[in-house]
């Protein structure tokens, strides 16, 4: 299949071969063996998806419980004092390492090889091993929480199990990212240079780059924590030090790395539903890369710079620059997407609703992150105000960014469900989930920002010195928002199960997609393409559709 960039060349190019022509679908796999022994990237992607969805429901419940607990900031009647610290840290560790990263890897493992025209993911056995390692590590991690071994837990064996399981999860995530990055770098279809990579595949590549710089550092620190617990504080930290070692991963700007695929997803769906080519594709690639670069700046955060040698103004200045600069590439992308939408005719289908909702929430999170770094903005408490960093403003920022990412990833599942699940996601249900998730995010995150402004500490165990009754009222609103989000998650999982068990044929290209994943069958056969696709533009299927339309005209 060859598709060309300009109209004249396109007219002379041979028609693209349909992926299903002459293709013999493989026989259905026999039972459990199809999952246990498969190196097919779609099966591996689905494995990650199932685990991430189970974790999403679990994290949603814990999140709502912590929010409800904070409605009365000093009673701890729901979870109790023994559990509140663990539940509070689980909100962050669970969301990042058991939900968002696995969900991103799930979609990237299943879709990126298709997008770049590869027959498989690079190192399929390693990719499969990483999925199983994640399942094992994730299970042990939850088990450690159950026996009170999570951060703040009291069971020493449980703490050891927790840290070991966490290292296992980090190892699995690192290997998975290596497989995805290698796929994009080396298994692209002929003619697909770096400048023609689809935006989602590009975002997976740059996000993978950020994470393989970040996850090993977390692993190194976790190994030290393990030794600390195992050899009775031989390193001077002890069981309680673990969360201090890793909490920088949940702060700005590292947390922005979670949101890199949001940009790739919006950039992939917007041109499809605007029914036009992406405006200035190469600039978009550069802006996503620039955003990724700004996420590697956690060493400038106040938690680190307080202990660092060197002039304080340098670190404070860098912290402000990194926090504010991160929003610039996203604004640039918003501009490009506005131009793209203006050029085309926008159809507000469910994936685009998810994309727009995610983008709005990400912008809110980035704005909150930038305001947090600006020193004159302080908490509104009687007496002397203090920095917003370390208050609920920080957790509100995290919530905006994390929930924006989850919304985008749910949208990605809806958009690519024909390839991922072999059936189309119910459109009405998807729209309802998108709107519920958008509403839930605003209701759950905005009051956290306000509570932070009123001086509520970020840690659920600490009580605000001032404005307590107002903060408790705001926390009730947060709990209501978390309830909405939990409802959206349950509804989404129900629709997902319905879609996965549906026999409906979604068609090879139900959306009129622009990139190569839509040039093969739904679901794609083992090996993905019956012939090696060749491309000469960043939107090969868009060119092919136009050529067909011109020919029929």
């Amino acid at each position: 299949m060859t598709v060309t960039e300009d109209a004249s060349a396109a007219a002379n190019a041979p028609a693209p071969a349909t992926a299903t022509s002459g293709h013999q679908a493989p026989a259905p796999a026999p039972g459990l063996a199809a999952i246990l022994g498969s190196g097919d990237h779609k099966v591996i992607g689905r494995l990650w998806l199932v685990a991430a969805m189970v974790h999403l429901l679990l994290v949603g419940v814990v999140n709502a419980l912590v929010a409800a607990e904070r409605a009365d900031t000093d009673s701890f009647e729901i979870l109790g004092r023994d559990w509140i610290v663990q539940a509070d840290t689980f909100r962050f560790i669970g969301v990042v390492f058991l939900v968002i990263l696995p969900l991103t890897i799930s979609i990237a493992t299943a879709i990126v090889p298709l997008q770049v025209g590869a027959s498989t993911v690079a190192f399929p056995r390693a990719a499969s091993a990483s999925a199983w390692t994640y399942l094992m590590g994730g299970g042990l991690l939850l088990g450690a929480y159950v026996i009170e071994g999570g951060p703040g837990g009291t069971d020493e064996d449980g703490v050891r199990l927790f840290v070991a399981a966490f290292v296992l999860v980090l190892l699995a995530l690192t290997v998975a990212w290596i497989c995805i990055m290698t796929t994009v770098m080396t298994l692209r279809a002929p003619g697909m240079g770096l400048a023609r990579i689809p935006l989602f595949a590009w975002s997976a590549l740059v996000a993978g780059g950020v994470w393989i710089l970040t996850l090993p550092v977390l692993a190194g620190l976790s190994v030290l924590s393990y030794l600390d617990v195992r050899y009775e504080e031989a390193l001077g930290g002890g069981p309680s030090a673990f969360y201090d070692h890793v909490s920088w991963a949940f702060g700005t700007p590292t947390v922005y790395a979670l949101a890199i695929p949001v940009l790739g997803f919006v950039g992939s769906v917007l041109p499809v539903f605007a029914r036009t080519r992406h405006h200035l594709h190469r600039i978009a690639l550069g802006l996503i890369g620039a955003f990724a670069a700004f996420t590697i700046g956690s060493w400038t955060a106040p938690g680190f710079s307080a202990e660092a040698e060197g002039p304080a103004w340098l670190y404070e200045g860098l912290w402000v620059v990194v926090s504010i600069a991160a929003i610039v590439p996203v604004l640039g992308l918003v501009g490009l997407w506005a131009l793209t939408a203006r050029k085309g005719r926008v159809k507000l289908a469910s994936p685009l609703i998810f994309g727009v909702a995610a983008l709005l929430m990400l912008l809110a999170g980035l704005t909150a992150g930038a305001l947090q770094a600006i020193e004159p903005i302080e908490t509104l408490v009687d007496g002397e105000g203090s920095s917003l960093f370390g208050t609920s403003w920080s957790t509100g920022t995290f919530a905006y960014v994390a929930l924006a990412t989850i919304i985008a990833l749910l949208g990605a599942i809806v958009y690519w469900s024909p390839k991922l699940l072999g059936a189309a996601f119910p459109e009405a249900g998807a729209r309802l989930v998108a709107l519920l998730a958008l509403l839930g995010t605003v209701v759950a995150s905005l009051p956290e920002l306000v509570a932070g402004l009123l001086g509520e500490p970020a840690a659920a165990t600490e009580v605000a010195a001032d404005n307590q009754s107002t903060i408790e009222t705001l926390n009730v609103v947060v709990a209501a928002g978390d309830g909405l989000l939990a409802l959206a998650a349950v509804l989404f999982v129900m629709l997902l199960v319905k879609t996965a068990t549906s026999d409906d044929d979604p068609g090879d290209d139900p959306w009129g997609g622009h990139t190569l994943e839509w040039a093969t069958a739904s679901p794609p056969p083992v090996g993905n393409f019956t012939e090696v696709p060749s491309v000469t533009s960043e939107a090969p299927l868009y060119d092919a559709h136009h050529r067909t339309e011109e020919a029929s005209a």
């Binding site: 002459g22 293709h23 013999q24 679908a25 493989p26 026989a27 259905p28 796999a29 063996a33 199809a34 022994g37 498969s38 190196g39 097919d40 099966v43 027959s119 498989t120 690079a122 190192f123 399929p124 056995r125 390693a126 690192t174 990212w177 290596i178 497989c179 990055m181 290698t182 770098m185 080396t186 298994l187 393989i212 710089l213 996850l215 090993p216 550092v217 692993a219 190194g220 620190l221 190994v223 030290l224 030794l227 600390d228 050899y231 009775e232 504080e233 031989a234 390193l235 001077g236 202990e307 056969p525 083992v526 090996g527 993905n528 393409f529 019956t530 012939e531 090696v532």
Partner: protein
């Protein structure tokens, strides 16, 4: 092109054109990740040491002397292994199998010698890992690098067996080159450990 008809249990079905550099990139990413684990631990070691020294204490317990000779010998051994590994790749690319086998064998011997050298250093230290936070960190940093060395040796050994089987000869020496990337990054990580732990003490 042949239709995809193989079992779903297969890794991939359609025969695809030769995809160069997959192992290069995979090995480079894996090497970077492994090195970062060692470097992050080293950073904690250096920070704690600086705190100790700033507080008027010694870096390690007072009666412990960190010998320089095994550290230097380790660096020299790994540098020699870099030369022999480059020799192995050169020989493989030129279909000079006897020299390739010899060079791969020597590289593995140097790797083993480095492990023995580090074990000798541990013996000379007479320091229990649990006796002092810095002792624990010292063993954690050097131990993490030893793990990386063992992984690099396994990678070279596997590729060496493939070469013995005739799969990695002539222009198709990618596997050994990928192993070499991991090996060289392992040596670079040791360079950081050597300077941070043994030289600056």
């Amino acid at each position: 092109m042949a239709a995809a008809t193989a079992s779903p249990l297969a890794v991939t079905t359609p025969p695809e054109p030769r995809r160069p550099r997959v192992l290069y990139f995979g090995a480079a990413f894996a090497a970077a990740s492994s090195a970062l684990v060692v470097i992050s631990m080293l950073a904690v070691y250096l920070q704690r040491r600086a705190e100790n020294l700033a507080g008027g204490e010694t870096a390690l317990p007072e009666d412990v002397v960190l010998p320089l000779t095994p550290g230097n010998m380790g660096a020299l051994t790994l540098l020699m292994s870099a030369v022999t590994l480059a020799w192995a790749i050169y020989s493989l690319r030129n279909d000079d199998r006897p020299h390739a086998y010899m060079a791969i064998g020597l590289t593995l011997v140097f790797g083993a010698a480095f492990i023995v050298d580090t074990a000798y250093l541990y013996q000379q230290l007479l320091l229990s890992p649990t006796s002092d936070p810095m002792a624990g960190l010292l063993y954690a940093v050097t131990g993490a690098h030893l793990v990386m060395t063992v992984v690099a040796m396994l990678f070279v050994a596997v590729m060496g067996f493939q070469a013995l089987g005739g799969q990695l000869t002539g222009r198709d020496a990618e596997g050994m080159s990928a192993a070499a990337i991991y090996w060289y990054v392992m040596i670079a990580a040791y360079g950081a450990v050597w300077y941070g732990v043994y030289i600056t003490k």
